[in-house]
Amino acid sequence: MIARTVVRLWPAAGSILLLAGCSGSQSALDPAGPHAARIESLWWLFFWVCAVVYVVVIAGLFVGLRRGAGRNAPETTPDPTGERRRVGVIAAAVAATALILFLFTGASYLTDRAMATGGAGDPSAIHITLTGHQWWWEVTYDDPVPVRQITTANEIHIPRGRAISIALRSPDVIHSLWIPNLDGKKDLIPGRDNIIAFRADRIGTYRGQCAEFCGAQHANMALLMVVESGDDFRRWQEEQRAPAAEPTSDEARHGRDVLLSSSCVLCHTVHGTAAGGRTGPDLTHVASRATLAAATIPNTPGHMAAWIVDPQRIKSGVRMPTNGLSPPDLQALLAYLRDLK
């Protein structure tokens, strides 16, 4: 009982020490799942032990500097009793260091082992393939029935409490998936099949970001992890499986024509239309997503317009070209994209 209380007190006291509030949508100290929680407790163990070690060593240094009297002539033949005492203290300090390191190695190993179990082997796990591109994330929900697969971008929805297994792929350079509230990071390496498996226990939206430098727009390669209830997740899945919504107005219908007659289709897919490009994010349900450009800007009509017209201004170096659309065409296109819920 006492031990449990102590464990709970660590983070609280630590937050005060670390000045900043540690809760946040992208924080390793605000766990929303068992892996992140285990790492967080390991962190506080390391933090407090290291803090004590630091205080003791620095106190030893400053006490030592303030003791004794200065000497004029250098001491070349030391006093043997003083030497013996020093050897004893140093031996004890080295032994303590070794013991602490042993504790750390053991705690670290046990945490790592605990995190290795479950996940990918779990038969009820949801399998997702995440492909990192310069500079966005392609998300595919695997399904034995091909038509039931879901493809989306920069936003992963998962149900609370289910094991999640994400296969990590990269066709270009090395990226790294990092959603600190849920788990540590794992690299997406061309030619290697990495898997990260975890579970989320708290409903909420958690931001993640590419953690391996991947070129010009590495800074703006983020994604959202939406943890929702099982019902909400099933509803979302069904919506995503549907083909693109039909335009609801004349303007939107014109917008679809604009899309299909412009270069958009070379890179983007809208299921149920002729647009089938695979280089850029799937737009079939683009209106259902909270952000654009890999969580760089919110998905509002204004931001969408700015992004379509001049993406280089928002994310310079991005692979999407500028689009010189006439204002009516742009408005129509926006109306159509708004309908793609």
Partner: protein
């Protein structure tokens, strides 16, 4: 003719008066006057000083880049620097600090101090030493010239493939990085073989391996680490260049290569690299602690063994940079244990230094202040290093600002603080004048406060999610205030560096005169005048203890019997430093500069066409012929055993003289 008969007709230093001896030695060891002398010199002190000044220049340039990056990051979504320039800047910053500042400055301080500490007159291969400096200078100029014409590398100082590979690395930027590495590795390897040979074969007679100062030990360990680690990165960067230039597929997984191969090769060098920077700093700390505590370092042997252990363990940790790449878990655990283990030798040294300082009431002069700051800051870096050794913790904070904080606490706390201390400590030896204490304190406190203000908040930034190598971040992440704090700290560091530059400028003109041994220190560099004459010691010292200038306070036993008409040094045995042979060192020569120029042209040219190697071999060959062209018929080697048949043993000891 026996050796003794030959020697009768030659000038020796035996029995010469001080003034006569000085005139004779200046004649044989002095450089030609003027610019020509500057270009052809092979004197280790002149070369080391320009090496140190150049390295400090690159430190300032890298620091300016850091300052500009801090301005960009001061607030979220700032538009001061765009991604293309920012990515070049952090790459050039890292490359400068590692390859053009930290390693060269540590090696060059070694190249200045080590021969003096050993009681000899030059390094073992003086012409090669000059060549090393010129290669380093041209490599640095190459990097910055490229940067100023918008071709600076933009793929990080680690230059991961495939981002740096032929498909994704645009223009010649990644080639510039790879070839800069080649330049600096050549220079570093040249310095390392100098240090190893000089330390093992040119110590003053009587300086057995057990009487070697700790700074010399540190440089020896460092030099061996350079020799074993740098070939890995030379190989890797060459493979990268040929992948890019002639279409090999070392790193292309689609053709059987591997992008992880790059990471293994790079970090097999990259992790020892940290210790290559850090171990010399350990030697500096030991030196300053001894002098100020006024007693030999407690646990000399333990510290020597710790440094050697660090040198070995440093090669067994590289995978802790790669925990997130999905290597087998059990393998990762091995590297966790190895990484944790390196804290033991570091701990032993820290405990020994504290035991040395305990109760000694040292005078708190600027060199010691920097050493105390070393304890305060490096230990934080060491402890966060222990955290990073743990696989689960590393997976959270790897590639975040937590690591940025950690590496700066290790490299600035662990190496730059001792380096500043060492500059304050040895500046009087190099220039003959003391650095000012008042400006020294400004320098120290601004740096100490500025450093902690800049880098401590980064630990928290990393934990709350800020990744490394980002040119901007969204406003709603809440990272703004801590970043602003870090930028303010960077401003203080800049002021501190200005105080340092002012201090040096003022001291060079008006600093108080130092005398031979201003700190009353114990090692041999303080036995000669400040600044030392071109020949270092009029008579080579003979060493009877670990603390020669403390054990023999008034007189120092010296060696006589070296010739004065040519550049003679004494070669001694590896363990016991028994005299073996009198060795002639080369005269000043222009060939090292010529060789560096043609090699540089070939290296730069070869990023454009592989034919550069073929055509470039011709001028390189011509220069090498010039370099090795015999000047005059060689004289037979004067081995010491030779003289047993003759009149007097050469050399012999003479008591009662100061070296």
């Amino acid at each position: 003719m026996t050796a003794a008969e030959r020697d009768l007709h030659r000038p020796f230093d035996t029995g010469l008066g001080d003034a006569e001896l000085d005139a004779a030695l200046v004649g044989s060891w002095g450089d030609p006057p003027g610019l020509w002398g500057w270009l052809v010199t092979t004197e280790h002190k002149r070369i080391a000083v320009r090496y140190i000044v150049t390295a400090l220049g690159f430190f300032a340039l890298g620091g300016i880049l850091a300052g500009l990056m801090r301005i960009q990051l001061a607030r979220p979504e700032n538009g001061f620097i765009g991604p293309d320039l920012y990515n070049q800047m952090f790459t050039v910053h890292g490359t400068s600090m590692m390859f053009l500042f930290a390693v060269p400055v540590m090696e060059s301080i070694g190249l200045y101090i080590v021969p003096l500490m050993l009681g000899t007159r030059n390094v073992a291969f003086p012409k090669l030493n000059a060549f090393g400096y010129w290669m380093y200078l041209f490599g640095g100029l190459f990097l910055y010239t490229s940067f100023f014409v918008n071709s600076g590398p933009d793929v990080g100082w680690f230059s991961y493939v495939p981002l740096a590979g032929p498909e994704y690395g645009i223009g010649k930027r990644a080639d510039v990085w790879a070839q800069t590495v080649t330049f600096t590795e050549v220079a570093a390897l040249v310095g390392a073989v100098q240090l190893v040979t000089t330390i093992l074969k040119m110590r003053a007679p009587g300086m057995t391996i057990a009487r070697m100062p700790l700074f010399v030990w540190a440089m020896l360990v460092t030099a061996f680490m350079i020799i074993f680690s740098m070939p890995a990165v030379v190989l890797a960067s060459t493979m990268l260049i040929v992948d890019r230039l002639v279409g090999t597929h070392f790193f292309n997984y689609a053709e059987g290569g591997s992008s992880l191969l790059w990471q293994h090769l790079f970090w097999f060098f990259g992790h020892p690299e940290v210790y290559i920077i850090f171990v010399p700093a350990l030697g500096m700390v030991s030196t300053i602690v001894t002098t100020f505590a006024r007693r030999p370092v407690f646990g000399h042997l333990a510290i020597v063994l710790s440094m050697i252990a660090t040198g070995f363990l440093g090669f067994g940790l590289w995978v802790h940079h790669m925990f997130a790449t999905g290597l087998p878990r059990l393998g990762n655990s091995f590297f966790t244990a190895a990484s944790m283990m390196i804290a033991i030798p570091s701990g032993i040294q820290i405990f020994c230094w504290i035991a040395t300082l305990w109760g000694s009431r040292p005078a708190l002069r600027t060199p010691l202040l920097f050493v105390i700051a070393f304890f305060v800051d490096f230990i934080i870096g060491g402890l966060t290093g222990v955290m990073l050794a743990s696989v689960p913790l590393d997976l959270q904070v790897h590639d975040t600002y937590f690591v940025v904080a950690h590496l700066h606490y290790v490299l600035i706390g662990g190496a730059v603080f001792p380096l500043f201390g060492a500059i304050y400590y040895w500046f009087p030896k190099v220039t003959g004048r003391m650095l000012g204490e008042r400006l020294g304190r400004w320098n120290f406190w601004l740096f100490f406060v500025g450093f902690n203000l800049t880098f401590f908040p980064m630990h928290i930034l990393g934990l709350i999610g800020m990744p490394r190598r980002v040119y901007t971040y969204p406003a709603d992440m809440g990272w703004g205030p801590l970043n602003l704090l870090a930028t303010i700290g960077a401003g203080l560091i800049a002021l501190s560096v200005l105080a340092f530059i002012a201090n040096m400028a003022i001291s060079l003109r008006r600093g108080s005169l130092a005398g031979a041994n201003p700190w009353d220190a114990e090692t041999l560099e303080w036995a000669t005048s400040s600044p030392p004459p071109p020949y270092n010691f009029a008579r080579l010292p003979f060493v009877t203890s670990l603390t020669p200038l403390w054990s023999e306070r008034l007189t120092l036993t010296v060696v006589e019997g070296l010739r004065t008409d040519r550049r003679e040094v004494l070669v001694t045995s590896v363990n016991d430093a028994l005299p073996i042979q009198r060795e002639q060192l080369p005269e000043p020569s222009i060939w090292p500069l010529a060789a560096a120029i043609v090699s540089s042209i070939v290296l730069v040219w070869s990023i454009f066409t592989p034919w550069a190697i073929t055509y470039g071999a011709i001028p390189v060959l011509i220069v090498l012929v010039g370099w090795f062209w015999p000047k005059k018929p060689p004289e037979p080697e004067d081995t010491i055993s030779d003289s047993a048949e003759g009149a007097q043993p050469i050399p012999f000891l003479s008591r009662g003289r100061r070296a």
